[in-house]
């Protein structure tokens, strides 16, 4: 690479040496200019290229599909539909039902998830023996495939001989008529929210822990003057100090929670149906999109539905971020 290495040996004939010395810098100049000006873009281009094809284009194209008739079972039925798909959406009871379910499960899954994660983070934020292994331990649910864990929970919440009902019967509930978890909205929501909570508590706890450990220690010394105990310390100092991460996790949980698909899908006794219960008790929007698109084969309508979901996510994420901001600010 260096000059000395590329220089011809001294024994070579004179003209050849001169020619090499003359053309080499020119070539190197060109190469270095290319290296400086173009190569950086070459290095970042795979990301942008792949994103353009598989990320950006589908989003734009989705907007077009939503405005058209697009059926997988009847390719002849094409053409512009205008806003017909969106109009259908507004009058579609299944959509509003799914929206309600999505929000119900979302709240049951997010609020306890983040609160318990905060408690777990607070436990981990000590000088512990073997602290790496505790942290690895709380990640067990995170690495477990949702498909696998949901199937365990499906057995856990079985009506007959399920472990959840057995535990309930120990404390005196439902000994005569065991609870059919899948039959009602509230019980199926609780079952699904339990799965989501189980999966994400450890992950969020580590995010909080990371923020907690960067709080300057003298803040706690100052608080000693107020005689704040550990509990008040948590709520008065730690929580306000990690507010940015709190907002981050709230937004993440919103984006993830409103797109909930895996758990409701596999909670079904026959997942292939994608109906979210005998009566759509727990059908979420993502599940409905899947059903409309790939069971009813109406892609145009499914595309319109995913736009609606996107708008809802935007609104809720913004509201949540605002509310969390207020809350933290008020406490401080």
């Amino acid at each position: 690479m260096s000059l000395t290495r590329s220089a011809p040996p001294a024994a070579s004939p004179e003209p050849a040496q001169r020619r090499a010395a003359k053309s080499a810098p020119k070539q190197r100049n060109w190469l270095h200019r290319f290296d400086n000006k173009r190569v950086p873009y070459l290095l970042i281009s795979p990301f942008f290229l792949l994103f353009a094809i598989f990320g950006l284009f589908p989003i734009v194209f989705n907007g077009i599909v939503a405005l058209r008739n697009w059926r997988l079972d009847d390719p002849t039925l094409t053409g512009w539909a205008g806003l017909a798909n969106f109009e259908k959406l507004i009058h579609d009871e299944a959509f509003w039902n799914a929206l309600g379910n999505t929000f119900g499960i979302f709240i049951l899954a997010t609020v306890p998830q983040l609160l318990i994660a905060l408690m777990v983070a607070n436990l981990l934020n000590r000088k512990l023996r073997g602290n790496t292994w505790w942290r690895v331990g709380v990640l067990l649910p995170y690495v477990t495939p949702v498909a696998a864990s949901t199937l365990v929970f499906a057995v856990f919440f079985a009506r007959d001989n399920g472990m959840a009902n057995w535990l309930l019967s120990l404390v005196g509930f439902g000994q005569d008529t065991p609870l059919d978890w899948r039959a009602y909205k509230w019980s199926s929501w609780i079952a699904i929210a339990t799965m989501v909570n189980w999966k994400w508590i450890g992950y969020n706890a580590l995010l909080y822990l990371s923020a907690m450990q960067s709080i300057p220690k003298d803040v706690y010394e100052a608080a000693a003057v107020d005689g704040a105990g550990p509990w008040r310390q948590l709520w008065r100092i730690t929580v306000p100090m990690i507010q940015p991460v709190l907002i981050f996790t709230v937004v993440l949980s919103t984006i993830g929670g409103l797109q909930l698909f895996n758990e409701p899908m596999l909670f079904e006794e026959n997942p292939a149906a994608a109906s979210g219960g005998s009566n759509g008790q727990w059908q979420t929007i993502a599940q409905l999109i899947y059903k409309v698109g790939w069971k009813d084969l109406n892609l145009g309508y499914a595309a319109a539905m995913s736009w609606a979901l996107f708008v809802i996510i935007l609104i809720v994420a913004a509201l949540n971020a605002l509310a969390t901001n207020r809350l933290g600010g008020g406490r401080r």
């Binding site: 690479m1 000006k37 190569v39 950086p40 873009y41 290095l43 970042i44 795979p46 990301f47 792949l50 994103f51 598989f54 990320g55 589908p58 989003i59 194209f61 989705n62 077009i64 599909v65 607070n122 934020n125 000590r126 512990l128 292994w133 690895v136 990640l139 649910p141 995170y142 690495v143 495939p145 949702v146 696998a148 864990s149 199937l151 365990v152 499906a154 057995v155 856990f156 001989n161 057995w166 580590l206 995010l207 907690m212 010394e221 608080a223 003057v225 005689g227 704040a228 310390q233 730690t238 797109q259 698909f261 895996n262 899908m265 026959n270 997942p271 292939a272 999109i289 899947y290 979901l309």
Partner: protein, 295 residues
């Protein structure tokens, strides 16, 4: 000093004012942590219990809580089931997760290097674009992506579940952060003085310095790809090339589901990730604490 301070026991007073991370855990901390760990591990343990049991044991009251000896039998049934392609599905999952991980590591470290250390017009604006792409919910393009795959002729093939995940915005962001701090500018400068081209700098200076970050990103990517469910289900359900998650949902579908069989399959599909967690737990923890994002 204040009205409340004298009322506290001396030991507690000593703890007040010390940052929590300097305070040792007492028995209650450890007890609570053991409870958290038990709840985290229980579904996995119980999955194994059912996977090793007979049909009678699965439906007994009170529930069985010790593993039986039927694991090999149950597993053999899963592997020999027609039209579930379970063995193939495990191999498919490996192929998909491996290709996606390798490509993510390569392309994201290249782009991360460019964003962290190279100067070019528009760099910061393009980086913001990368971060913005993180916030797009993946449900939004799913229908159009399916149509696109159809036009490419990839529907129902492994290519369709690999191609959309070859790079990740999080990976680029993570690599950029790491390279900014881990690779000294002077080292790059002196290599440049010796006439090294960009790719040479990447290969002999950047790559060796970012091995820890590659381990973290690789593990997170592998886990996320292995667990991907919705998109593979749309693409591969009913084909002869399911990933293991799709095969699991197949296994659990139908009118009469045999749970010891389903959970034996679920356990088999979980084991690779448990191995990764044991081997690379430290790196996964680190990755998440440095701001990993749900994919």
């Amino acid at each position: 000093m204040t009205a409340t301070a004298p009322r506290l026991k001396p030991r507690r007073r000593a703890e007040i004012g010390r940052a929590p991370q300097d305070t040792g855990g007492n028995w209650r901390t450890y007890l609570a942590l053991v409870a958290v760990l038990a709840l985290s591990a229980f579904p996995l343990y119980w999955m194994f219990v059912i996977a090793t049991s007979t049909d009678e044991a699965v439906s007994s009251i009170p529930p069985t809580v010790v593993p039986g000896g039927e694991f090999m039998n149950n597993l053999r049934e899963v592997f020999t089931l027609q039209q579930v392609y379970f063995a193939a599905s495990l191999i498919n999952s490996f192929i998909v997760a491996f290709v996606v991980t390798a490509s993510t590591l390569f392309f994201c470290s290249l782009a991360g290097f460019a964003f962290a250390k190279l100067r070019f017009p528009g760099r910061d604006k393009l980086m913001i674009v990368v971060i913005l792409t993180l916030t797009v919910p993946n449900q939004l393009g799913i229908v159009a992506l399916y149509i696109l795959m159809g036009k490419l002729g990839w529907n129902g093939t492994l290519l369709s579940v690999i191609a959309p995940f070859l790079v990740s915005a999080f990976g680029v962001f993570y690599m950029r952060q790491f390279i900014m701090h881990a690779v000294p500018d002077e080292l790059i400068e002196s290599a440049r003085m010796d006439g090294a081209l960009t790719m040479r700098v990447y290969w002999s200076i950047v790559l060796p310095a970012i091995r820890p970050a590659l381990a973290v990103l690789g593990l997170l990517t592998f886990v996320a790809t292995w667990n991907e469910f919705q998109w593979p289900l749309i693409q591969l359900n009913g084909t002869e090339f399911p990933t293991s998650m799709v095969a699991l949902s197949d296994l659990a579908s139908g009118n009469y589901v045999i749970y010891r069989r389903v959970l034996a399959g679920a356990f088999a599909a979980t084991v690779p990730l448990l191995v990764l967690l044991v081997l690379g737990g430290r790196q996964i923890v680190r990755g998440i604490m440095e701001g990993a994002v749900k994919s």
